[in-house]
């Protein structure tokens, strides 16, 4: 099957390798295998696979990871734009099943 990959060079994920203590939590929680940890140091393998779910940032005990967390949902973005707010997912439609 063809691989499912979203747009290139858009994600906000950043890793400060100097802060990393090699606990491997990021590699554990990432649903898309974005991280690998070698020699007690995390590395981003493929940034374009990141969906900005925020799991890595949330579980990094030394705050070495930053990402603009959010749901990649067009309806939420459009609803937010119409209401003049941040992306608003009320989950009454397609997602969250």
């Amino acid at each position: 099957m063809a691989r499912l990959e979203y747009l290139k060079n858009v994600v906000t994920l950043n890793l400060d390798a100097d802060k990393c203590i090699g606990c491997e939590r990021c590699a554990e929680v990432c649903p898309h295998g974005v991280f690998t940890v070698e020699d007690r140091n995390a590395r981003i393998i493929d940034r374009d696979l990141c969906m900005e779910c925020g799991a890595c940032q949330n579980n990094c005990p030394v705050e070495a990871i930053s990402v603009g967390k959010g749901a990649g949902c067009a309806q939420a973005v459009i609803t937010g734009a119409l209401r003049g707010t941040e992306p608003t997912c009320d989950c009454s439609n397609n997602c969250c099943g």
């Binding site: 099957m1 063809a2 691989r3 499912l4 990959e5 979203y6 747009l7 290139k8 858009v10 994600v11 906000t12 939590r25 554990e28 929680v29 990432c30 649903p31 898309h32 295998g33 696979l49 990141c50 969906m51 900005e52 779910c53 925020g54 799991a55 949330n58 579980n59 005990p61 603009g68 967390k69 959010g70 749901a71 990649g72 949902c73 067009a74 309806q75 939420a76 973005v77 459009i78 734009a81 992306p87 997912c89 989950c91 009454s92 439609n93 397609n94 997602c95 969250c96 099943g97």
Partner: protein
């Protein structure tokens, strides 16, 4: 929110607390409820009461498994614990599944710490370990929870069905268990919700096309509404159905990374197919104005419907969707508006 009652419930008592015990086997009512939720029937109210539940005959050393109070999440978890003894700690996620709720933070560190406190969990389990689904990690911070409640988090597999293998391996997940994929069966189960939720908007629009089609330079003709109107409604529905069904099914094979581009191909394919089927009889659509109108409206519609499937997909980022919405939606709107204008002009020439 009204909560779903769980049938076949009994109670056990631990430390003076009455704890509901649920079977690991799902019955016909659970299966029917799942089917209804897939068709968006009462889906936003498909919830169970938050709190602690027992599966099997758990004791102070049995594992604690955390879930959301969307009943489908809860049912997936308890059925994967068949033949085991355990505690299920259900968080109040307002009836939303683990992953979406974690994104919003309702499946989160605060709620988890509060629920541990409220259920008195530390009084009837001796250990201090929670198995949290990996997809709860966007809301849960393991180190913060440890500091707040003393409980350590072990992230379980993405899919509850992998839980038995995870537990049998001594709480170790394989790389495969840690990855979210979006295989065809997962995409197909989302189609009914797509159809129902978009159908609400498509049906009134179709009705408007139907009635307006009766307008003509001489006034209004009911017969024209029935003949031309029906054709227009069929075109609209065909575009919508194609996008809502083939978008999810063909997702990996539709060219392009952008969902609106993927949807555009569906619309283009429909135009080519329509052209081949109708050939020189294309005038059955009416005048060249309405032909041009549908050439603009169909791709705009299929592209928009596909773009909105991003929310149900498992791999799109907010930054990517924002970029796509910024570029694609104005084009889709312009095509649709121009198409509608041409179509209206076509009624009177």
């Amino acid at each position: 929110m009204a909560k779903e009652a769980i049938r076949e419930i009994s109670f056990i008592t631990r430390n003076g607390r009455r704890i509901p015990k649920v079977p690991a086997e799902l019955n016909w009512a659970d299966t029917f409820g799942r089917w209804k939720a897939r068709w968006a029937i009462g889906r936003m109210k498909y919830a169970v009461e938050p709190g602690i539940y027992a599966v099997g005959n758990p004791d102070a050393d049995s594992g604690v498994y955390v879930s959301a109070n969307y009943k489908m999440s809860f049912d997936c978890l308890r059925s994967s614990l068949a033949g085991r003894d355990g505690w299920i700690l259900v968080l109040d996620t307002k009836g939303i599944n683990v992953w979406c709720a974690a994104g919003k933070g309702t499946f989160g560190t605060q709620e988890l710490a509060r629920r541990i406190e409220e259920t008195g969990l530390s009084e009837f389990v001796r250990h201090r370990t929670l198995v949290v689904p990996q997809l709860g990690a966007p809301g849960v911070s393991a180190h913060q929870l440890k500091a707040q409640s003393g409980f350590s988090v072990v992230y379980g597999p993405v899919r509850a069905q992998d839980l038995p293998a995870f537990l049998d391996a001594g709480m170790r997940a394989t790389e495969q268990m840690r990855r979210v994929h979006f295989p065809i069966e997962d995409r197909i189960v989302l189609i009914p919700v797509e159809l129902v939720s978009w159908g609400k908007y498509v049906a009134p629009v179709a009705a408007v096309f139907f009635f307006l089609a009766g307008l003509n330079p001489k006034g209004y003709s009911g017969a024209l509404a029935i003949s031309a109107g029906t054709q227009n409604v069929l075109l609209l529905l065909a575009g919508f159905l194609a996008a809502a069904v083939f978008g999810p099914v063909l997702l990996p094979w539709l060219p392009g990374r952008s969902f609106s581009v993927k949807g555009l191909w569906i619309g283009m394919a429909m135009l080519v197919l329509g052209g081949l089927l109708l050939g020189r009889r294309i005038d059955v659509l009416g005048d060249s104005f309405s032909v041009a109108a549908w050439v603009l409206m169909v791709p705009a519609l299929t592209s928009f419907v596909a773009l909105n499937f991003t929310g149900a997909s498992t791999y799109t980022s907010l930054s990517g969707v924002k970029r796509e919405v910024r570029i694609a939606v104005p084009i889709q709107l312009a095509c649709a508006a121009l198409g509608i204008a041409l179509w209206l002009v076509g009624l009177f020439v």
